[in-house]
Amino acid sequence: MRRLAYLLPVLLFALVAGYFLLSLDEGRDPSLVPSALIGKPMPAFTLPGLSAGAPPLESAAILGAPAVINVFASWCLPCRAEHPLLTGLARDSGVALYGILYKDDPAAGAGWLAELGDPFRAVGVDRTGRTGIDFGVYGVPETYVVDREGIIRFRQVGPLHPQVIAEKILPLLKTLKE
């Protein structure tokens, strides 16, 4: 019994060291904010279209099929880097891809898409960033996967990369389509 008491500090140390070891795990970025909206319905929004003639982008119009919503801006460099991946994702999976132009000038956004290609089914302009706040966006780019009921099922903070698309988004879209 007495000897066991001497083992207690060792046990405590093992506990703390184990916790630290887990926290050192590669996949964990402490600056990432855990999403409050996973499993919750996406916020309702109505955003003006990119060009003068384009219809507004409404959250209600996205419902009915799984969709990917990408929050981007022409002033955002990582968005430029992830753009080919988004284009590939829309082409390969056939998923409905929507864009939210975050705190940007519509003309700048239109020019950006004209230059890089437009993979989006529709783009809404969020000039004030208010819809972004409703989504919990704290930096662009961010990407959301919503199911047919509009429930947010996945969120990527920062640019997409091939591994996330292959290991998370594509399998999720597959299950959502069934």
């Binding site: 904010v33 855990p34 409050a36 705190k103 960033g129 706040i133 989504f135 919990g136 704290y138 930096g139």
Partner: protein, 168 residues
Amino acid sequence: MPGGMTPRAAGRIPVLAGLLALFLAFAGAAALAVEPSEMLADPALEARARAISREIRCLVCQNQSIDDSAADLARDLRLLVRERLVAGDSDQAVRDFLVARYGDFVLLDPPVRPRTWGLWFGPAAILAIAALGATLYFRRRRAAAPPAPLTPEEASRVGRLVEEERLP
């Protein structure tokens, strides 16, 4: 060097004063991220907005409050807080509004939940365990009987040994 200050040393004081002035100028700027144009006309509402803002984490520069941060998003959130207050929300309703979007992480003061029990009660629990251990230790030490006095044989032997040591 005798003869007082060299020209270089004399020049150093105004430079220091200048640096100090520069520092103070920036310190003042850093302390006021809230721009005058953002402030509400109603001083009571503005005071509430400031109090709430000080407790809301800026998600871009994560160890600053939105009241301190010059980040774009922090400004948007400050405006949002003021907008909700003007619309008649209570302080708690404003906080709930932000937590619904950004989670508990947005609060600089973590709420008490099963997940944060370790954080809130852990230090007190460790202190209690230490106090218990210390109490047990000291009680046991006091309870232990004082050593028995020397028997007459032992006393004479000690005396002998001491005598032997004294001899050259």
